[in-house]
Symmetry: C2
Subunit: 202 residues, 2 copies
DNA sequence: GTCTATATCGGGATAGAC
DNA sequence: GTCTATCCCGATATAGAC
């Protein structure tokens, strides 16, 4: 059974997060979620209408929080480089502190039924367009190299999102170290070169 | 029903690839796979012992092909920069031409039972260590900036793997264009900077 | 090698008592 | 708000005919 939580709703959701992440949405039975929360399966339906609602709430909560943080960063900072650093650091921070939730977002999109998929996708689109705003603004102001904004944003978001898969808290590296390495890679690349081509690819 | 294929085994596997990618392993019924292959569900069991065997064969085939290609590149090329370019280009090429297979590898690891998971994970580990060999060799030879090899390899593999999710053949950009943008980003980063810090982060 | 028919099981969800 | 009991369906897999 999971450690205590104020509300039963919270306990159920926490159990669902753990089991959806571990076994996948379809492979995680309501009975097991209930047991982990310390109740019977039927009791879940007093708090949530069905299994799908658990998935939607998990995804919605984390995605909204991510977007709100990114929006705050865009409001508070103006310098493109600082914006990028803050955004990447925040993205990584949230993805490592809520590993399981973002892993579910990343792997269980297909399990969303009907309108739910479009809704969660719209939240993910919002996240992408926030990163794209940082990049295109930085390119216009000649801080960033001119390149395809969408592709660059996908590249950044992909590598930061995948952190939720492989990062182990308490492992060899701290979140701060990984963030520093990622930022260095994103901004300067891997190549250790004196001569730098200033020509830009169209 | 799927277009023809030489063998029924091939037809079944192609149907499984399509449905596992679209609905997920657990949400794709054997009945639907069979129907797509043009037979009855029971007939699948003449060709494969069970559903799990379909998943394993899909993952194994693509991962082995990826690793064999990367091993060939490491044999054929010596220059670190060229190795990296070839490896990334090959990785992207395979991931875009076999979108669904690699999407399944990326999202259905949890569905692997017993020994199967360790086996497929070992193939993925092999892929990672091949990229890591390129990077650490390039760092020793002062071609690449000194940084954490594992983190850098995860970053590269993550962004290239995620292509299988968002890339649409026939869309705005060709594979060649995306590959060029990715390679530019990986090697030179986003920052358009004259002054380049030569100090290296430990 | 494919079929029809079916065994067997586990899943989500509901009914109604307490 | 949680329980026990149960409905009902769809899933994998098997048996055995053709």
């Amino acid at each position: 059974m999971l450690p205590q939580s104020e509300s039963m709703r919270g306990r159920i959701l926490a159990a669902a997060v753990k089991l959806f992440a571990e076994y996948g949405y379809h492979a995680a039975p309501m009975r097991d979620i209930a047991m982990l929360a310390g109740i019977q399966a039927a009791s879940i339906y007093h708090h949530y209408p069905n299994k799908q609602a658990l998935l939607v709430e998990i995804m919605e909560t984390s995605m909204r929080r991510l977007n709100e943080g990114l929006e705050r960063i865009l409001r508070e900072f103006d310098d493109p480089m600082q914006r990028l650093q803050e955004a990447v650091a925040y993205h990584i921070d949230l993805h490592t502190r809520n590993k399981q939730e973002f892993f579910i977002i990343d792997t269980e999109m297909r399990a969303l039924e009907g309108e739910n998929r479009a809704y969660i996708l719209s939240l993910r689109d919002r996240c992408e367009s926030l990163f794209q705003e940082i990049l295109s603004d930085g390119m216009e102001r000649k801080i960033f190299r001119h390149t395809d904004v969408k592709v660059a944003s996908y590249a950044i978001i992909s590598m930061c999102t995948a952190l939720a898969t492989w990062f182990r808290p308490g492992g060899r590296l701290t979140v701060q170290q990984v963030t520093a390495i990622y930022l260095q890679t994103i901004t300067h690349g891997l190549l250790l070169a004196e001569e730098r081509p200033q020509t830009q690819v169209e």
